[in-house]
């Protein structure tokens, strides 16, 4: 039997890795993937608590998080493509001017 805290610790580790990636990495796409990692850590916590408190709302929330993640990924990747077309680089350190 697995106690609830194990699931929370796993979710926490995933979230922490996501935050580290978001702060450390310089490639826009990798930063985006760290955001997705954070969302997944939160999803795991939601599902663990849904099983703990025996309420199904946690799983429904996971649906909505996934939907929002999908919409955000689509629009975010479109923005990344536009940024690459104009700035010719994927390094966030070099996208630091409002006007070229």
């Amino acid at each position: 039997m697995v106690p609830l805290s194990y699931y929370l610790i796993l979710g926490g580790i995933l979230f922490a890795c996501g935050v580290c990636g978001f702060l450390i990495r310089r490639n826009i796409i990798t930063i985006f993937m760290s955001i997705e990692l954070m969302l997944n850590g939160v999803n795991l916590t939601f599902v663990a608590f849904a099983a703990h408190w025996q309420r199904l709302s946690g799983q429904i929330f996971v649906f909505f998080v996934m939907v929002v993640a999908a919409a955000e990924a689509a629009v975010g990747l479109a923005i990344i493509i536009s940024v690459y077309r104009t700035r010719e680089t994927l390094n966030v350190d070099q996208v630091n001017l409002l006007k070229l």
Partner: protein, 174 residues
């Protein structure tokens, strides 16, 4: 026993994938590690009895969203990330304090969460139950997220469209 073994094995794959995502220099390797994390998380959801959520995670997250990421990486031909100047002070202070904070948090959680275990399959997350809740209590958020996806589709198409030289379109420059 089997439950704990499965949890530990797939939890280890999750953590390894997450750390690999941080460490790899090429975005395609990070993307593949993220896919491994998502697939192991689907197994973890199965262990918690959320079977429909696990299936949706594989179909939507690992099978569609990550395909978008892989497409973008392939289309933009993103090469390896350049090495930037890291701060030595930050590494000396940051990594140990992160580990200490993490261990403290884990100890508090394990110590104070009691002995109730989360049973595998205790809460039937079958598609019928989830659908019942989704279309009865959460109907408004469901419809609103449908509109959200529609807006996201339109936004993505407009943003990623190649700027064609149209004579009637607004904004002639680039």
């Amino acid at each position: 026993m089997i439950h704990l073994t499965l949890f530990l094995v797939f939890g280890a794959i999750c953590v390894a994938g997450a750390v690999n995502l941080l460490v790899q220099r090429h975005p395609i390797n990070s993307a593949l590690s993220l896919i491994a994390v998502l697939a192991s998380l689907a197994v973890e959801y199965l262990l918690l009895g959320a079977e429909f959520v696990a299936a949706v995670q594989v179909i939507v997250y690992a099978g569609a969203i990550m395909v978008l990421f892989v497409f973008t990486i392939m289309l933009l031909n993103a090469g390896e990330e350049e090495r930037t100047r890291g701060s030595r002070v930050a590494m000396v202070i940051g990594i140990p304090s992160l580990l200490i904070g993490g261990v403290l948090l884990a100890w508090v959680l394990v110590r104070h969460s009691g002995t109730e275990a989360v049973l595998a399959g205790a809460l039937p997350g079958s598609p019928e139950n989830v659908a019942w809740m989704l279309f009865h209590e959460f109907l408004l958020p469901f419809e609103v997220t449908s509109v959200l996806i529609l807006i996201a589709i339109m936004g993505a198409v407009v943003l990623a469209a190649r700027p064609e030289a149209t004579s009637t379109g607004p904004g002639k420059e680039s």
